[in-house]
């Protein structure tokens, strides 16, 4: 049986931007309370003493895969980095013909020589071709799904965040692959997107919440939406950020800290 859709499937950007008219007012009051709750809970967990080495929480700390992730393989890491670079080029309006080569050039310009770039340099022809084909496949999924990205939405890529808590005992680190919208508006308009090359799972939900929490702490303004897109499956998970999202993110962070502290 052949069936026809009433409308073309929504692109990632369509979902992220949503209906302009239904956006809530910017919440710039929640951050102080969240920070206080987090500080109190960390104090109960770690006590008053300053640690020699701070506990660092990253988005990857929240995945907690029970099995060894396929992403821990260096080639998968490289693929993730290259797709992220390709996303940056796409957002900057660069026409990408050979995604693997151009993303590699951008990566080397950004990171310089490191263990991973040296690892890529010593790949043989077969492995290089396999990596290029893999990156190309993920790139095609990303390019087809992302949809048009207007410059007026203020796209920013690879935005870093760094939050010191409990007098420096705890550090929250985060990198958001793509952020659109502004924090200087009266309505909530900031949308966060994480692009991953692995399939989405329960850990992805925690990561989405973590992005929202760190962004709230960083700018003191609650983002409108947090999302995650998998270039492996073409799936997009997106959820509006509300008090419950942030409270759950806080719980997730404390769970990670409990694990790190023991």
């Amino acid at each position: 049986m052949t069936s026809f859709l009433d409308a073309p499937p929504a692109s990632v950007m369509d979902v992220l931007r949503g209906e302009r008219a239904t956006r809530p007012s910017a919440n710039n009051t929640a951050a102080a309370g969240l920070r206080a709750m987090l500080e109190d809970a960390i104090y109960e967990l770690l006590g008053p003493d300053l640690r020699d080495v701070p506990l660092t929480v990253r988005a990857s700390s929240l995945r907690r895969d029970s099995i060894v992730s396929t992403n821990s393989a260096p080639l998968a890491q490289v693929r993730g980095i290259l797709i992220n670079q390709a996303l940056r080029l796409l957002c900057a309006g660069v026409t990408v013909d050979d995604v693997c080569r151009e993303a590699s050039l951008a990566w080397c310009a950004e990171a310089g020589a490191n263990d991973l770039t040296r690892y890529v340099d010593q790949l043989d022809d077969d492995e290089t071709a396999r990596l290029a084909a893999d990156v190309e496949a993920h790139w095609v999924t990303l390019k087809r799904s992302l949809g048009p990205l207007s410059n007026r939405w203020l796209p920013r890529t690879s935005l870093r965040a760094y939050q010191r808590l409990a007098g420096g005992n705890v550090i929250l680190r985060d990198v958001i692959d793509l952020m659109v919208g502004t924090t200087s508006s009266d309505v909530a308009s900031v949308v966060l997107l994480d692009v991953t090359t692995s399939p989405l799972d329960e850990g992805a939900e925690r990561v989405m919440r973590y992005h929202a929490l760190v962004q709230t702490l960083r700018t003191s303004i609650v983002p409108l939406r947090t999302s995650m897109f998998s270039t492996a499956t073409g799936e997009l998970w997106s959820s509006d950020v509300n008090d419950e999202t942030l409270a759950r993110a806080l719980g997730d962070v404390l769970d990670v800290l409990r694990g790190l502290a023991t």
Binding site: N28, A31, R35, Q85, R88, L89, C91, A92, G93, V94, T95, V96, R101, E102, A103, L105, A106, A109, E110, G112, N151, R152, L154, P155, R156, T157, S158, L159, R160, A161, Y162, Q163, R164, T182, T183, S184, L217, R218, T219, S220, I221
Partner: protein, 268 residues
């Protein structure tokens, strides 16, 4: 006594810091300039030295040779793009970054760029690298614009950093400034930095305050220098008091001494 303050970044914090800045900042006189010049002259140097807040924060430790990269190019392009988008509001910030990038490339093609300049670096980049430079500059200009748009007082993007050549001391001081906010007759400087502030961020801000005052013909200090770290969501500030100006000058001289000792150690 230091006037260093530390605040979490929020929409109102910047405005409050500007509104509460001292109404009568200190001013450096010719005697101050002569005294500083004498102190720098006492630190002998064969080569011309350039000092800035970053060196003060690093306690004069050598950082290696400067090289252009997307991360080092973003501030120049990002500030220029924001300045352009203020004067040409029809341009989006991304478009303004592209225009600035194209301007640099045209400068190189016209033969006006000297080796080692930003235009020279950009001309040597592939399209992918240029895309990354553009992405980094867009991040910078957007973060700077978001900070500026929340301000209630008139602001402008600084046309250049503050430079001061210390007389007969083979020393150039460079003070960073990104936004200049005007409130009544006083100036407040905003300096944006990526990453998170370290323990020596305060001395860095004081160095910028002192260099800015030295670069002013009448020696009048900015009422306040605000250091903004958007990635960490932190705002630090120092006031334009004589105590802070003196502390800034002392740190700069100390940095010159440390660097001189390093040179001597290397020579030995």
């Amino acid at each position: 006594m230091t006037t260093l303050t530390h605040r979490r970044l929020s929409q109102h914090v910047m405005n409050r810091l500007i509104a509460e800045s001292p109404e009568e900042p200190a001013a450096l006189t010719d005697d101050h300039r002569r005294s500083l010049s004498a102190r720098f002259r006492a630190v002998t140097s064969v080569q011309h030295r350039r000092l800035d807040a970053w060196m003060v924060e690093r306690a004069g430790r050598a950082d290696g040779v400067f090289r252009w990269s997307p991360a080092t190019a973003r501030r120049v392009l990002g500030n220029a793009a924001l300045r352009r988008s203020v004067f040409e509001p029809q341009l989006t910030r991304v478009d303004a970054v592209d225009v600035e990038l194209t301007d640099q490339l045209l400068r190189h093609n016209a033969g006006y760029a000297r080796p080692g300049s930003l235009a020279w670096y950009l001309a040597s980049c592939s399209s992918a690298e240029l895309g990354l430079v553009s992405a980094e500059a867009t991040n910078w200009t957007t973060q700077l614009a978001e900070a500026a748009e929340c301000l209630c007082d008139p602001w402008q993007v600084a046309t250049s950093d503050a430079y001061y050549d210390v007389a007969r001391a083979r020393t150039t001081l460079r003070g960073r400034r990104d936004l200049v906010v005007t409130r009544d007759s006083r100036r407040v400087l905003v300096r944006v930095r990526m990453g998170a502030p370290g323990k020596s961020a305060g001395p860095g801000l004081r160095a910028d305050l002192t260099i800015d005052a030295l670069a002013e013909p009448n020696g009048l200090a900015a009422a306040r220098v605000i250091g903004l770290w958007p990635e960490a969501g932190v705002v630090l500030s120092v006031d334009g008091t004589m105590a802070d100006l003196r502390a800034g000058a002392r740190d700069l001289v100390r940095t010159a001494v440390t660097r001189q000792r390093q040179h001597l150690h290397l020579a030995a």
